[in-house]
Symmetry: C2
Subunit: 513 residues, 2 copies
Amino acid sequence: MNGADALLATLVANDVTACFANPGTSEMQFVAALDRKPEMRPVLCLFEGVATGAADGYGRMADKPACTLLHLGPGYGNGIANLHNARRAFTPVVNVIGDHATYHRQYDAPLNSDIPALAAPNSLWVKSADSPDAVAGLAAEAVAASFGPPGGPVSLILPADSAWLETKGEPIIAQRTVRPAPAGSAVDAAAKALKAAAKPVILIGGQACRAEGLVQAARLQAAGVRIVSDTFVARQPRGAGHFAPSRMQYFGEMALSDLAGVDLMVFAGTTEPVAFFAYPNRPSVLVPEGCKTLTLAARAEDAVAGLAALADAMGAPKQGPSQPLKRPEAAPSGPLSAAMAGLSVARHLPEGAIICDDSVTSGGGIAVPALTAAPHEVLALTGGAIGIGLPLAVGAAVAAPERKVVSLNGDGAAMYTIQALWTLARENLDVTVVVFANNSYRILNIEMARTGAGDAGPQAAKLLGLGDPSIHWVPLANGLGLPAVRCATAEEFETAFAGAMARRGPMFIEAAI
Amino acid sequence: MNGADALLATLVANDVTACFANPGTSEMQFVAALDRKPEMRPVLCLFEGVATGAADGYGRMADKPACTLLHLGPGYGNGIANLHNARRAFTPVVNVIGDHATYHRQYDAPLNSDIPALAAPNSLWVKSADSPDAVAGLAAEAVAASFGPPGGPVSLILPADSAWLETKGEPIIAQRTVRPAPAGSAVDAAAKALKAAAKPVILIGGQACRAEGLVQAARLQAAGVRIVSDTFVARQPRGAGHFAPSRMQYFGEMALSDLAGVDLMVFAGTTEPVAFFAYPNRPSVLVPEGCKTLTLAARAEDAVAGLAALADAMGAPKQGPSQPLKRPEAAPSGPLSAAMAGLSVARHLPEGAIICDDSVTSGGGIAVPALTAAPHEVLALTGGAIGIGLPLAVGAAVAAPERKVVSLNGDGAAMYTIQALWTLARENLDVTVVVFANNSYRILNIEMARTGAGDAGPQAAKLLGLGDPSIHWVPLANGLGLPAVRCATAEEFETAFAGAMARRGPMFIEAAI
């Protein structure tokens, strides 16, 4: 076998079985080796930002990494924004970055660049396999590193000669590090502080927001401690049967108003909350003045075990509150808005659906009615780099083919990685795409006022609006292989969304709001 | 004025008057300041790779930088691939990268990342303006640095508070470094070596391939020295009235076969040629064995002055050969191919047109007949990162609004930065887009064999083909605001291309080959 075979053997031996790829010449050995390792599923993405975002969606749902296959520095570069999001989601991802043959690097050919430098800011681990015999061991290291805890993207550079030269390449099994439970002293300290506090809050994030974490958090809420989740969570169950914590508000002043009077914040699976952006004369840290803070479980620790131990120590009941099933009864009518669309989503979302949310200003309209919809899970934009809603859906659908995936996108966000539509069509993934077409980067109109920059004049307005010309989403989606429909009324959206939920396969809905 | 005003004042004072942008919250002060500085033209791009590629196209045509406006690390990340190309084109580009307020960085908010580390590999110069008073001086430094010589992208990080706080901000004029002429001794040495050589070649690149460089190179060819250009040149005139040097072949073995027997290579505005990729048992350096090499003018030197002095020293005639005007007489007919399309391009290309070439395997069909077309200029893919043909056209058209721009793209390449079509429509740019739709990354089918990886089996084939489903380019382009037509025969292409050349404004042609 050659180095590419060795890489695939070790990846597959470690249960890495999906590859989101856009290869070039330097990756041809890896591509050829795929035919000798059918356990690895190659998924072509027409842009690397789709590949990395798909790997994020896959990792969030599969709890194991997919690999990407990227073409040198520029190919990796195209994937950076969604790797930034994956880093903020702590999602395991193994990037395989093809490079020039080791001896060719010195000549600085046109595609040469400093790949380790480019990869470092968004990779927990970066190494180059500079000989074929090094490939298997480093691949196992990469897989292990991607799991963390708390996990994230890693980057294995594969020079072309390391791929084409022969090696023994016995598959090597990755040695994963287990998340340690928080120390008993941390649990005791948290219990003591919570009992002493007048108005405490537990802030949960990451693993603590998964199903098993929410169960324990609900017990603590039943014991009288308010539970608040991070604003943007990588993966969180929602709907009937799940506990619904309140959520840190996006805007700092609203967050602090919500937390007014809180005298203790305990962190489980997350850290001190900070404002998404700084604004003139507004605070960066979203902890009320005088409020004490305390960590129950760091991100790398087992926050679920920590919450369970804390609930026991607090004498919490065995079971906390959970949401009832209460779908909106009446079909919405009248002009379409995000709120109206949200009612239809809540009415028709099937049990076990996965929502990939990159809907920016339209997201709020869905979040409230979905609290009592059929049980589902939400994958949020964790790193603020828009353009992940479509790629996440690609990856989630590959990881969980039996579940309906709904991708909610702002129009500005959807355009970032629009190439993903083609992969949805090619792979016939069971994904319903909704684009909220308000012809605007609406969030920026809000943010402009908040930053004290004043109202947009004609020049500034040119950078905030998408309406000149309006994007025609239906032909665009058709062109990339998807059936598509435009909805301008709540009735039209209700019909389209209900229809999409009732059938399998990819579908595109423009919500003209 | 605030720091954002100061930045714009210094940029405009240095004749930086185009801004290719996709801003976010941290850039709102810059956006607002645009209304107070109407000399700066903001051009919205729906993805940052479009913005950076447009800045490259603008810089190549205007011989001065445009600025980009990018949103923190992820926004810059999306622009990396085309900045890689700009670095390889030595194009001046001033990236303005918004960042969190200086005091907010420590909190590692979701959009925080190591911007200097991300920017370094593709920036000649990276600095952060960490106070408003530093903005004007650093902006002038950035502009100066972008000019080199030989020039390239630079990155100025603008924290939000440096943008919103007050400053005096008198505009500062950049101090540019002039390209020095090569030393007389280098000219003498080259002349002596050329006279002594049996079969010498002068390899020209960069500035030596511009109009004035070609004039001097032609004189040397007239004196009996074969002139060869780099394979991929940032900007090169072609067609009637221009000297047509031969070109380094893309594939190494073809290049070495072409150079067989050459005993001296003299470099002007470029360096020793190397293979684009390494392949098993094939050479990396494309200099024949035993051939001497010698640098007349380094990239940072004035290669035109060097060639002129060398031509004088060689006693070359005052004028060398140039191409006749000889358009293909007969309209092509039959099935469409890149070669047939090339005939139509050569027949109808107007004088002064600018070709932005990202057509990969289809490019050869145009290059030959275009040698005797009306005089035009070609902007090539310099760094191998596909997805620049559409963005380059945006920038070239903004820089040279009176000239027809023709953007030639492979289908795989076009999908990378397809968002550029919308900007062409919005700005009503005089650009004709041609996409050669062969439903394939065809170059990779060729490269797969060359790398010794063998034939593609069913898994590998999934990563090389774009035909399942076929992209419907006409609705896709319509959806993004462009009139579009599909041509499946040479006659259809002839009619469509002639029509597009005869009218102004954006137009999309699918060449189904």
